[in-house]
Amino acid sequence: MESNFNKETLIDDLIAGRLSDEQASEAFNKLQGDPALTSDYKFQQELIDQLQAVRKTELKMRLDAVPIEPVLIGGLTASALLKYGGAALTASVISVGAYLYVTSPSDADIESLDFISSKNTLIDLSSTSPSQGPDEIVRFELKGIQSLPLTASTEAIPLIEVKEGLSTEKVISELEAPEVTPPAVTELFEEEEIASPELDSNPDRINKLSTKATEIENVQDKKYPFHYKYHSNKLYLYGDFKGIPYEIIEVHGKSGRVTYLAYEGKFYQLKNPVKGVRPLIPIGDKALIQELEILKEEKAF
């Protein structure tokens, strides 16, 4: 047992990088001359890789549950962008309102205007997909106005002039992303002031259960007995589920959407994006499992 213990300690330390260069070199020499030890090393390497993967997944799920304010596009902070956005939208609404008032719109037109103004005020900038560029933010504003049943061109609306003195070009150039170079970070960004955490309190893990359907395709491939993949936002589930029903649970937290698979009493997190085909790994976090159980039950009713 003593020699086994030493052998395992050596392999452990070698894999974990706890040996000095000299010790590591000596250990590798031992490995080369001993096929049994080499086999054990490879075996241990895979075990440790998976232990690390399990812990990483656990910590990532914890981070997913941390409530985050929506991220905005471009180089502006939330308050600044909302300020510009708010001013622009208010101006848009006033301009369109004035225009409609002058041109005596129908009741239907006024209803459309109310809808768009309230919608824009709430979601226009903060909920626009981050993949959209700054140009698209401006286009979105114009698109909203163009969708009104107006008889005149939107060019007639003095939208740009009333943006607190900002021209379209200026708005776009301020929103455009800068070239990324390794910087003195604190000069570029303002750090978000948040309260220090209480050491023992629990995070609010799950905020809302989505009822939105996910597009799923089952794939039978012997090479992937129990795996998944996301491609173009479509979920591919690999493996034979033996006719046993599974459920997809989408949880909308403040930090975004997290998807879980519930199958045969276990839960699996489905990361999106994910690189290639990944094995389905059951969640081990009991607190999370308990919450998912509750959500699953709620969903059933």
Binding site: L59, R62, V66, P197, P282
Partner: protein, 180 residues
Amino acid sequence: MKDSEILTRISKGDEKTLDYLYKKYYRMMTRIVLSNNGTEDEAKDIYQEALLAFWQKAISGKLVLTSKISTFIYSICLNLWRKELDRKGRFSDEEMKDEGSHPEHEKNERIRIINECINSLGDTCRKILTYYYFDGMSMTDIAEKLGFANTDTAKTKKYKCKKKLDSLVKSQYSASDFLD
């Protein structure tokens, strides 16, 4: 919270401080990806990877910061996103075609088996092993965090848990299968 306090807390394995850091720098770090053709999910993933790399370094107690924590994490994010862009550039078109004939089927099967075994270990064993192998926590810190009597108890438990995992996996898969 000052950087020094953050490091002290993390070196004790305080996960609430990880949450705190995540929230504090979320916008700053994800912006690197968002403003360089990345999606919000990609931005989040890169930031999480970077933060966990920092966590692993910091928890070992060996990290000597010569810059602010934010600068350190920023650099990791930047490097990870550059690598990811490079990877995407190389594989974007061929990914779907190649997956079906990927030669890693056996490895995936082994991974599945190992994961099942890890999950059947029980909470305490799983925590000891993952704290040790991912977080790089010392046995003393693990003993403190999991409420063991002393470091020796933690060492013994870790040894037994590892043995249990070894035999669970080996019972389903021969060790020779791990030879390429």
